[in-house]
Structures are given as C-alpha cells and as structure tokens.
Subunit: 416 residues, 2 copies
C-alpha cells in the first residue's frame, strides 16, 4: 500500500476574543485539513495547526509522501526531516519553535497514516494503539476571560465581555449546563492574580465538587505563584505552568505541595527526564499534535508512568478530526488521570459528516468506526477554506490582536 | 477476531555446561512454545521461558484467553493479572522474581497477538511496530567458559572444556569463523578477575577491531570492578553488570568513564528513572521476553532515547521464534546501537520450518514474511516435547548443576 496523493487544505474558523498571557484570540483560528490517499482507495484524515509555519511545512512535505507506505512511520519521519531542512526555512514570526515544526508536521501525517491502518483492518484507531483503557472520554470546561467581539465580519460573538470573576462564573455555568463538564480550567495570566484567585474561589463556591485548574501560561514570578498556591491550597487539582521556564517551575515546586502541570516547559521527550531530575513538574499535558502523533503520545504516557508523573491532555482551538484523534489517544493512554482540555465548545463549525458530536456529562464516547471513525464533509471544508481565503490571515498573532482592545498593551512574561 | 484456543508446549533442548556466576547450564534448557489460534484461522506464535514458574503461569492463563481480541493488549494484561493473583502462586525456587511473572507471561502472549496482527494484514511484525530502522540485524558472539560435558544422555558436548584465556580465544575463533560476528561478549564472573582480564586482553590481541564486552553478573565488588576497568581501559565497548544492585553500580559509575550496561538492576520501567537519577548505568539491555513484549521493548527504546541511555539486547538460551522476534524488535528500535546478544549458536535444534537461519557477517536479515515470519515445525516441537518429558527437569538450577562439576561449590555474589 502506497500513498498516491496528499491534500492539505487550510481553513479558517470564526473565533471569539479569548484572552491569554500572549494577548487575545484573533477573529478566526486556522487549521489545516489533511487527506492522505492510497493506491488501495483508502483515505486517511488529519487536522493540524493552520498557521503559516505549520502550513508551509505540511505543503512542502505533501508531495514528498508519494510512494510512502503508511505503515512505515520511520520513512515518514525521514522524508519530513529531508524535506524540511532548517525546519522548513519558514521565516514568519510564530509561536512555534523551529525545532518543533518537524514534530508537528510528522504528527499530522502520522495520524492520517494510522487512520489508514485502522480503516484497512476495519478497526478503531485505539485498537491500533493497543486497546482502550477507557471508551468514555472525560473533558473539562475550558474557561476564558474574554472581550466583547468588535469585528463581527467572520462570525458572531458568544457571551459578550467576560472580564470579572462573576462573569467568568456565569460562563462556567453556561458551559456546565450545556456540556455537563465535571471539571473546569481557567486560562489565567490575564487579570491581576488576586482577581484570578477570586475567580477560582467563586468557581469553587458555585461548583463545590468540580475539579478546578488554572493556567496562567508562565505569567507569574515564583513568589507570586507561591502566594497564589497558598490562597488556593486544597482548591486546585493542579496548577498549570504558573512560571516561565523549567528552573522557575522547579524552584516553585520545591516550595509547595500542589502538583504542577505543564505543556510549556516539557514539550520534548528529553525534557521529561530533565523535569524529573529537577522535580519541576508532576503532570505533563499530552497532545498528539506535537508529541509525535498518537504513537508519540502513547510513548509519553509510558514515560510518565515510569517516572511517576501524571498525564493530562492539552488543547488548541480545533475541530472534529482533532477531537476524534484526542479521544482515541485518551482511550489508549491508561495513565491519563485528568479530564482532557478542549477548546471545542468555543466554535460552532464542523468539518466532519454528522456534524458536531454531543457531549454527555462532559464526556464523549471514543468513535468506534474504522480508524479515526470520522468522515470529511467536503462542503464544510470548502466553506471554511473560502473563509480562509477571505480572512487573509496567515498566522496567529494574539499580541497584535490585543492592541485592538488595549492599544497600549505590552506583552510581558512574567507579568506579575 | 477472537482467540479460540491457546496451546502451550514445554520443550527441552540439549544444552552444554556453560558457566556463569550462578553455576553452570544444566544438560537441557527449557522453553515454552505458544500457539494462539483465532476464529479467523490465523495462528500466532510465541516462545517463552520454559521453567516451572513461567510455564505454570502460561498454562494458567492459556484457557483464560478464549474470546480475547488479539488487538486488545489491555484486555490481555487484565486477564493475566486476574489469572495470576500473587503472580501465579507458584512456589518453586526460581530466579524469576514474583512480580516479573506477569510481565513474562504477558510478553509471551503479546508477541503471539502481534504475530496474528501482522499475519492479518500480510505484513512483517516490524511494520506493525512502526517500521524498520534497520533490516540487517547485527549479533555478537556470546562466549562462555565451560566444562567438558559429563552426561551426554540428551546431547553431545561442543568444544570440550574451555576454562583458560587461551581456550576461550579458540572458542571465539570458532564462532567468528562460523558466524562472522563483529563483536564478542564474555560471560564473566567465573574465573578470578585477573584471568578474565587476561582473557579479554587476549581476545583484543586476536580480534583487534571487534567490539568486546564482559558480563560478570554482579560477581565483583565495587573496588574489584574499578580495578578491572583500569586494566581494560579503552578495550571494552561497555561493562555489563559488574556489581550487584543499583547503588553499587552507581558508586562504580561515579568513579569511572567506561559505560556500564545492565539487564539486572534495571528490569522495570520505573527502575530506568531511578538509574537515570543515580547515573547508575548508561546502557540498558532490551529483551521482549520481559520488557512487556515487543511494544514494551519499543517503549523501552523511546525512554532510553529520552534519557540519553544506550540500548543493547539481552538473550537467554532460545530457539527460532524468539530469534525472529528479537530481529523484529531490533529492526524497530532506532536507538539500538550495539550488536544484540544471542545464545543461538550454542544449540543446534530448531522448531521452525526451514531450519536454522544462517548468519552472514554476524548478522541476520529481519524476516519479511507476515507477522514474525516463521512457521512452526510441529514434528520438531513434538521431538523436543518428548525430550522435555524424558528429561524430567522442570526448573533451571545452575547452582545445583555446578555441584556435579565442583562438589564444594558455593554460590556467592559478589564473589571477588
């Protein structure tokens, strides 16, 4: 079985101004839809970041995959490394570190190759990965401070402005009401730490039994983080990336009992070992989009098990192909012991047939169809590709977008 | 696809009195041949240890696998854990630690399940594991001091007594002549350390460009090992398990530059992390027979890559099913950077169709047939099963066997 054609389609999806340490989400988020066709008639799907550096990498690699056997992931990696010397040579400013482009491009195609393998034997992806530790995948509500959307060209706003603890609790109530989430994560690093602490305490009041987390994306100094930890002692299930860099996390970790999680200071397999040696974090966020695909994410789980680290799951803004892949990876990761993050409720579009899956009690059932278990809705893709062309946005730039809302905004990490 | 029947056949293979720290090989070595049949007509093969504790575990688990989907390795594990409370409750004295029985039994059936998966899609096992990093698998010559065999009931001797440095070099010349090995490993801990150093130096003289190793299986104290390291500075590619226990290895490691390898102090995933923290070893020996099968061995490789540890491959006395599995694991482990160990040349029997594969320049080609790429020779199995019944040996006891050659032998680790 050989690959005959690879189609990479950039799409734009209406987004709302969700705030974070870097700034605020632009009016659209970008994804790349991947179709990998084989000479046996099977088509593997994938969904990746759509910003310029990834997209360029995907497009550069796509024609080089002709003739690849989807089973040969080492050949896939070789072809990508060869096609992307200097990580693709894309010079656009972007959050994605140079050396991660290869991993991200590999991850996107790896999922498509595994999808093909699943389809070939008529089995769901989680079985290709060794079997399911669970089939009901729990997700948490991903809460954001947000602005009222100014530019409605590409889509409507949701919820208006959410910039106070009380408004954030209302947001949580909406999400919990609609999706039934049993845990809640607040994207922090946006308001003064005391206000974010107040937000968490009010969430605790409103949801006495929900798991609660906050992720300030490195916005806090070690002393600030230590103070927050004191204020939220016994309230959080974990604290995600409070400080910037491995050493700051290690310094904080040495002072506190609360578990620290990360998707920022540990993004390479080698960094897991460094983190263990420094006892810098206790939980690592998995994500098949950059941990070398689903097989890489499974390896991550095994390494964390060996190192006695917890595993949770990271999310970027995404649609249903990624959601399905996240479910399969979550199903096949025995030691994934926390509800997965997902941005999914923040958009209303879908590119898979059958439309948006329905959450029940905050959970989804892992798809049982062959491979990823999803089929592409080509009309929906075409519509969002048209939006991509209209939007004329090639990269994600939250900081620049923030200037529309706060003209004198200066990005600063740590800020407090 | 479901498993309908599992057949476990103990076999005995004539062996010769190879010496080690525990004593000497008995006149037969024991293996278990595994056939896993499915309702689709596919049969998966496996080869495991045949000593009582493993055999009993395999036999206890076998009927519990009826109805198992060979893709569901988590269900396989669940069934084994359930079937073997207290690790099977086998009380026979054996080298196999209680908690490893589950891993060893799992490993044996995992290989058979992967064999079935490969056969289902008509692909070699290494492709199921993600593709080959190499298809030519390099093995090293495994050299032993040995006695002249006394009891020839079950098979002839090979080479007579080999108890001096010069005789050992002659043994090496025979093996290198017949198999073309490019590296040589000496099973040490048998003679006085100075004699073993002399042996290695004479091997170096005879084979100026061969990789050389010695494995005294924990027979040396830290000072003795440090002295040997000085004497063999620049001569060995690594020193395997010179001292007993993680802390002794760490103490030695801190004093020397020579890389230390192990298949004794790191046999659990958790121990890799402990070894890294203590910098106790620099190379870990992989072995699909106890590292949770082929997928476990691949995880081991990934963890070692993350931890910047080297990977080599361990061997027990074995036949062709194990040899094929070793080749597939070696093919699919990118960072396996040393020639694999194998006891294979020490026996002359085979249980796979086509007979014994031929080494060329110390290498084998990874089998390209579906799954493991080997088929069972049922007549050969029957013959060796008959020998198992005749031999009336249920366990491996090298120390007791040693008393036949050295009546006042007392096992002692460390000895020097």
């Amino acid at each position: 079985m050989n690959i005959t054609e690879v189609i990479v389609t950039p799409i734009a999806i209406p987004d709302v101004p969700l705030a974070n340490t870097k700034g605020v989400h632009p009016s659209v988020f970008l994804r790349a839809v991947i179709e990998v066709k084989t000479d046996t008639g099977l088509v593997g799907l994938g969904e990746a970041y759509g910003a310029v550096r990834t997209l360029s990498g995907l497009q550069t690699v796509a024609p080089k995959l002709e003739g690849l056997d989807p089973y040969d992931l080492r050949d896939l990696r070789r072809r990508i490394v060869e096609a992307l010397p200097n990580s693709g040579g894309v010079n656009a400013p972007t959050a994605l570190a140079d050396h991660k482009v290869v991993d991200v491009v590999y991850s996107a195609f790896e999922i498509a190759c595994l999808d093909i393998r699943g389809k070939e034997v008529g089995r769901p992806l989680y079985e290709i990965l060794g079997g399911a530790a669970r089939k009901t995948i729990p997700f948490g509500g991903y809460l954001f401070y947000k602005f009222a959307k100014q530019d409605l060209t590409f889509g409507p706003d949701i919820m208006g402005e959410v910039m106070t603890p009380d408004a954030l609790v209302d947001q949580a109530k909406l999400f919990v009401g609609e999706y039934g989430f049993k845990s809640l994560k607040l994207k922090g690093g946006v308001l003064e730490p005391d206000l974010e602490v107040e937000t968490i305490l009010k969430l605790r009041e409103a949801f006495p039994n929900h798991g609660l987390r906050i992720d300030p994306m490195g916005a806090w100094t070690v002393p600030t983080a230590a103070r927050v930890v004191k204020q939220l002692d016994g309230v959080l299930e974990y604290l995600e990336d409070p400080c910037r860099g491995m050493d700051a996390m290690a310094k904080l970790s040495a002072q506190i009992d609360m578990p620290l999680a990360t998707n920022l200071v540990v993004v390479e397999f080698e960094e897991i070992i460094e983190a263990v040696k420094k006892d810098a974090v206790q939980i690592i966020l998995s994500d098949h989009h950059y941990w070398r695909g689903a097989t890489g994410a499974i390896h991550l789980g095994e390494i964390c098990r060996a190192a006695n680290l917890g595993v949770s799951m990271h999310s970027n803004s995404h649609l249903g192909i990624s959601l399905a892949a996240m479910c399969h990876v979550a199903a096949a990761t025995p030691n994934l012991t926390y509800d997965c993050d997902t941005h999914y409720p923040w958009s209303s579009k879908e590119i898979i047939k059958g439309g948006r899956p329905t959450f029940k009690n905050g959970t989804l059932q892992v798809p049982e169809g062959p491979g990823l278990g999803v089929e592409l809705d080509h009309e929906a893709v075409a519509e969002l590709h048209e939006l991509y062309n209209k939007a004329m946005v090639a990269d994600r730039d939250d900081t620049n977008e923030m200037l529309k809302y706060i003209p004198d905004y200066v990005r600063k990490v740590p800020r407090w």
